[in-house]
């Protein structure tokens, strides 16, 4: 399996080259081109992870689409699948290993080697009240993972502690500890400063952050959209 990251910057996409026997999966809406020998299987059951309707529902809540698509080649020849995220921003390739599993923020998961296991982590009731999509997709195993972001991605090597706004977290190595907290001493202060929940990371590991926050942009743009019909 070989993955090319195309057009770095605001409009990145990925091209996955598959050999016979290899399987890649992505959120179902991500595929925008495929060679004619690609077989697409849509499922709610990722290999090794939470499957069935419940798994699909959990993924839906996590901000990813309900279904996952799995791609294989069907004629013994090499094939390719192009994947593009909905958000305007960067796509990054992450090598997941048995030594270092990765955790993706809800909407950041784009696709992965189908041999990797996906599991959802719910961030507790606090996550519900925060208005943020605090579901994480935990990726374990050995293989390729693709994440997408709104804006540019910066890789940060956490060594000690770091505070990150929940709207800017893309993915991180699972060995990092984190707690959901507020940025100021009091909730009132945090609210007034426009900073709701932050993740307080501790430990050593890689963290990918996105330059921009889709929720902030949505809030600004939303004022210029017609009211939602209920």
């Amino acid at each position: 399996m070989k993955i090319d990251i195309l057009a770095r910057g605001a409009f990145t996409s990925a091209l996955v080259h598959l050999q016979p026997g290899e399987r890649f999966q992505s959120e179902s809406s991500a595929m925008f081109r495929a060679s004619s020998n690609i077989d697409i299987d849509v499922t709610t059951r990722p290999k090794g992870g939470a499957g069935g309707v419940l798994g699909g529902l959990k993924r839906l809540i996590a901000g990813d689409s309900f279904f996952l698509s799995t791609y294989t080649v069907d004629n013994g020849q090499a094939g390719e699948v192009g994947l593009s995220p909905t958000l305007q921003g960067e796509v990054r390739h992450v090598a997941v290993s048995r030594a270092a599993g990765w955790t993706c923020a809800g909407g950041s998961y784009l696709g992965s080697d189908a041999h990797l296991s996906l599991d959802l982590e719910f961030q507790g009731l606090k996550g519900l009240f925060s208005g943020e999509r605090l579901f994480f997709v935990k990726v374990t195993g050995e293989g390729d993972l693709l994440v997408n972001a709104y804006g540019h991605i910066t890789e940060v090597e956490v060594d000690g502690e770091l505070i990150v706004d929940t709207g800017h977290v893309v993915a991180f190595e699972s060995q990092l500890d984190y707690t959901l907290s507020k940025v100021a001493g009091s909730w009132v202060q945090s609210y007034l400063a426009g900073e709701g929940f932050v993740l307080h990371f501790k430990g050593h590991g890689k963290l990918l952050v996105q330059s921009h926050n889709p929720k902030e942009f949505g809030g600004l743009l939303g004022r210029h959209l017609p009211p939602r019909r209920s």
């Binding site: 502690e161 307080h200 921009h212 743009l221």
Partner: protein
Amino acid sequence: MQVTILGNPEYGELSVRLDPGETITTEAGAMSRMSPSLEMRSRVMGGVVSGLGRKLFGGESFFVAEYGGARGGQLSLSPGLPGTVCHQRISGDVLWLTAGSFLACTAGVTVRARFGGVKALFSGEGATLLRAEGEGDLWFNAYGAVVERELDGELTVDTGHVVAWEPSINYTIAGFGGLKSTFFSGEGLTMKFSGRGKVWLQSRNLPATGGWLSPFCVG
């Protein structure tokens, strides 16, 4: 203090290193990540009354956030809109900003919300303009790329594309041509700038993006 602008032109953000005791003031919600050695406090900029004015009449937040700490630290700040981040040194002079363009400033700079009068009310940008003055550094952001014009004479600009201008420049609100062309050209109201000084414009227009997107918002 060391501030670097990263990611221009499409996704500009600020990377800030604060020395012990230094502070930086930012638009509410702009912090994306920071060292735990820093503390945040919210405060009203330019007094309670103008803060209230901002809340009632402008798109700008009531409160701003101030970051600093006894040990210093590192933080990143990003605007809500994708686009270019600009830096301007203020030393005893004034800069006018449209509401929503303010990103951050150092301790010596004050940003006050000013009711722009009826003409600003019709500009589609909210009636509040921001007046930055004092001594220090100011960072502001645009939607899209920034077009910087050194003006000597007149310039007509769609109101949705105005970011900032120097106080030596006057402006009036008008349509492009008569009332008929205002309605049918798709151009909104315009600001007619005149004088000598600098004007900053943005290459994209948020109300226009919203207008284009609206037909696709179903349910």
